[in-house]
Symmetry: C2
Subunit: 208 residues, 2 copies
DNA sequence: TCTACTGGATAGTGGCTCTATCTTAGAGCT
DNA sequence: AGCTCTAAGATAGAGCCACTATCCAGTAGA
């Protein structure tokens, strides 16, 4: 398979493919000779992964590269998934100490999750502090409800993520899955808010 | 108050303020004479709103403008909130017909939300279809759990959003709140996934 | 009057993701 | 063998976005 075919197979312009090659996201094809290189199914898979991370999850090239480098280093999936999380959650950009809210810790105990330090946990703690700082109140049982919901999805999701797939698929499922669930939540919340708003505001404007 | 003071009061560079003025996000100050204009508290509020929408919610200038135009037109808050949702949910970019999944409709009935067509509902339907198309499975009761959680938050949130505030504050609370809840969800999900992953993958790698 | 600073207009910057062009060289057909 | 077509590789440029720096002119305060 040569570049043009790779392009056709993935719907990516040859120019973009060349760009990804230059950036080291896509390994070079096997060079047949000076003016012909051949690409394999692995390239198709990899390219699809890159495109999904760019277009759906909207990760910048640099971060996609950081994920792929790990994947190609053959690190354990657990390590890889942790890194994918770090990237999708946009951690590492915001430095600083971990907040002293222990809301996340409470959730961990409640859900009986393994009590391990993790970036996700720090991120959650930091985020809750941030919301408090912004004066966005969290009803007391909200975290319970949320965490119950995500707890049930996580097992389900992870099964799909890890069941004997190749590394590229694991990344894709994990990153795209996280993104999609978060968007799902956003849209559900919007619908809920719209519904409540209609009830509350419409009544005011046109009383019975 | 002149430009420099406005800058100090909001931590925004004078150059950026000028830019927002040019873009019509910020109404011009009252022109005292050719080389002096005076800005009011309204400008401080507006500027803080703009900054929050840029830096926290990360909306592009163009969309911020579309929100502010509506706000200044004095449309009803319900209309305004609907538009804010549309922008935060990134609707309107993806054209096309509404999917035929009626998952969102089921949720609406279950939650006893007013059965009104809305962009949020269309967005939810479209998103669920998209996830199905990507092969991201949703456990049967997941939407119930999610929607139960967001239902309880929406009322709570909306009370904070609408209680006798000026329009700029309503926008800020709504947009920032939506964004923050969605991020919260993302981080909770990450933590849940990390926890499940540790249980599942760690055991494999180092059996007891 | 002179200086310092302001407001206003215009042009430029930097980061990012591509995209277009140019050159060289082998492939396949006749 | 010769001719054309297209690929690969390298380099430079485009286009978008959110600023930011520069320039000019006018006025306030010393």
């Amino acid at each position: 398979m040569q570049l043009k075919e790779l392009s056709d197979a993935t719907g990516t312009s040859p120019a973009s493919i060349k760009y990804y090659l230059r950036e080291g996201l896509l390994p070079p094809g096997e060079s047949v000779h000076a003016t012909r290189a051949s690409y394999s199914d692995r390239h198709v898979k990899r390219l699809n992964l890159i495109r999904a991370l760019r277009q759906i999850v909207q990760l910048p090239i640099e971060q996609i590269r950081s994920i792929l480098v790990l994947a190609d280093d053959g690190v354990p999936h657990l390590t890889l998934l942790a890194h994918v999380q770090r990237v999708v959650l946009k951690l590492g950009t915001e430095g600083g100490e971990v907040a002293r809210t222990s809301a996340a810790d409470a959730v961990v105990r409640l859900r009986n999750w393994p009590d391990v330090d993790s970036d996700a946990r720090d991120a959650l703690n930091r985020h809750i502090s941030l919301m408090e700082g912004l004066g966005i109140g969290l009803p007391p049982d909200l975290l319970d409800q949320y965490s119950s919901a995500v707890d049930s999805i996580a097992g389900f999701d992870l099964a799909a993520t890890t069941e004997g797939k190749d590394t590229d698929s694991v990344i894709l499922t994990a990153a795209v899955g996280m993104h999609m669930h978060s968007e799902l939540m956003l849209k559900l919340l919007a619908l809920a808010q719209a519904s409540h708003a209609i009830r509350r505001l419409d009544d005011r404007q046109m009383p019975p």
